[in-house]
Amino acid sequence: MKLVTPPRVSPQQFDAAMQAMAGVVGKDWVMASDADRDAYADAYAPGPQEQWPAGAAVAPASVEEVQAIVRLANEHKVPLWPVARGKNLGYGTAAPRMAGSVVLDLGRMNRILELDEKLAYCVVEPGVGFFDLYEEIQRRKLPLWMSVPGNAWGSVIGNALEHGIGYTPYGLHARNLCGIEAVLPDGDLVRTGMGAMKDNPAWHLFPMSYGPTFDLAFTQSNLGVVTKAGVWLQPAPESSLELVFDIPNAEDVSWVVDTIAPLKISGLIDQNVFIPSWLGKMVLKGQRKDFWDKPSAIPEWRVQELLKEHKLGYWQVALRLYGEEPVVKAKAEIIKAAMARNLKARAAEHWWHTGDPINAYETTMGIPSAVPLQMSDWIGGRGAHMGFSPVVPATGKHVAEQMQRSRKIIDSFDVDFYASFTIGGRFANNVNMLMFDRDQPQQIETIKQLFNALIEETAKAGYGEYRTHLGWMDRVADTFDFNQNALRRFTEKVKDALDPNGIIAPGKQGIWPSAYRDSAKEGRA
């Protein structure tokens, strides 16, 4: 990809900035060739990757190097786009929101600084991936479990900062962050919470500051560069039981949510409960063309045939309990009785006890895997996906209405309906997975129009998304419209005060510093 420089920066000025940064990190860690720009592009871009081009990438190895790079970025007016490991697949990968931004790749900062078995937490740098942390825990034989997202190739901190979700009792990953260290846009260094006191041993244990608490202000944020964080871990349970319920019909999701959500809110169920529709299972069984060989959406009669042929319910709830065996048994009886009010078929039960093997795909037991990405093969070719992900209250009524609304829109675009709901407490997170082939321009155009329609209609009904791709960050930000987008106005005031040159991640989540606000109209999908 040829060089695109940031606004008001000439190629010569850009080159001077890169040379200055090479003086900090070494010339090999400034990556500014056409091939480097390709590697930092959005591999799953809906449409040409050139829509979100990085100018270059710089990879510091320490907090001090991050500070020096941030100061140089101010001096040269070259904005940075920080990524932890750059594996935010489906949301933009490592690519920046604003063209020409320099990706600040923190992948080399990959030390596990603390791993505390007694208080069940770790302190890690942004380059530490889920696989790295999992293997270190295994090597030290510590009784600790992690919570992992569907694609666990990425960074522990990066996923938490992006509000990633897992399927264990620690599944709200941003809530596991406790005590953050961040480089501010002027190069200053701050520690949140008890870490504001030098060497305070409760830094990663008490989740609030003395005074305003800023930890979450650094998530989905361009207010600083997080350089380390405490992350809470789950003490390994003595036993675990998985209850698998096949739920026959689409409309059953309503009673399923009304049955499970109260048990989740009361604490009887402690994991985030994932309710995927049948297509979630089918994508692992082959390619779409093996089951439906037309470009049009799989029709309802064929869906019903496939459910029969493959002995699948429309939904599957694989619910997992954790703890001492008598407690787990007692909880299981309560859940089974509650489900039996609407479901005749009994749950399949899979027990695990300490010492039993755990297979490589047990996401609900915190095993990291990239296998869910296999779904990109469903479409074939250069398969890619995007998720439309609104949040709704965890009641059957809200969930059913949301499903009907998105299904109607998706059907009207003749696209396959592939939904899931995750009950994370008082809310349900609805992900509508949209899969496409990057080499089929018509498919991409359809998906883009569909995405816009989903955002608009869902916002009209009163709901917003929890996360989105680069190309829709502004459109989704627009939907948060209370008092003329007061929250965005507030955040932009804070942004301008902290970052007058606007050099940290301009446009992240629709927050534009005044220095680049005129670029907000660019790069929209």
């Binding site: 090999d28 590697a39 750059g86 296998v371």
Partner: protein, 140 residues
């Protein structure tokens, strides 16, 4: 064979690659696919200067092992692909391939292929990629 499910293929592959463990019970007709494989640990992170490269096998297992060891996403997709090309399931593991050239390995790593995104020079430095390409590139 063509419609052998990925799950079955990867479990079969897992059974093939666990010779040092207790033999898995053979899958019986009508009982569904054998269980998924256990998690395969990667080697510890190589120490030293990443710009100087290192041992190709270790670097491959550490940096590519997320997807290309037993049970990984890349292995699963390649197992299906190789079996459809009439080869045995263990050819789904890149380490078992004899038909890859070093240049091809470098190209796929940097450019990506199908479901695989391109890898940056932070993911794998040029010197590390050279070592991995020599390790995997057994075809001339």
């Amino acid at each position: 064979m063509k419609h052998l499910s990925v799950v079955a293929a990867m479990a079969l592959l897992a059974a093939c690659s666990q010779q040092d463990q207790a033999p898995a019970a053979p899958a019986q007709a009508g009982k569904g696919p054998p269980p998924p494989p256990p998690y395969q640990m990667r080697p510890e992170a190589p120490t030293g200067n990443r710009l100087a490269g290192g041992d190709g096998k270790t670097l491959f297992e550490y940096h590519c092992g997320y997807c290309h060891l037993t049970g990984g996403m890349g292995t699963n997709l390649l197992t299906k692909q190789r079996m459809m090309a009439g080869e045995t399931p263990e050819k789904g593991l890149l380490a078992n391939r004899a038909d890859l050239t070093a240049d091809y390995v470098k190209q796929v790593v940097r450019m990506g292929k199908n479901a695989m995104p391109p890898q940056t020079r932070v993911d794998l430095t040029d010197a590390e990629l050279d070592a991995v390409a020599i390790y995997l590139g057994r075809a001339k």
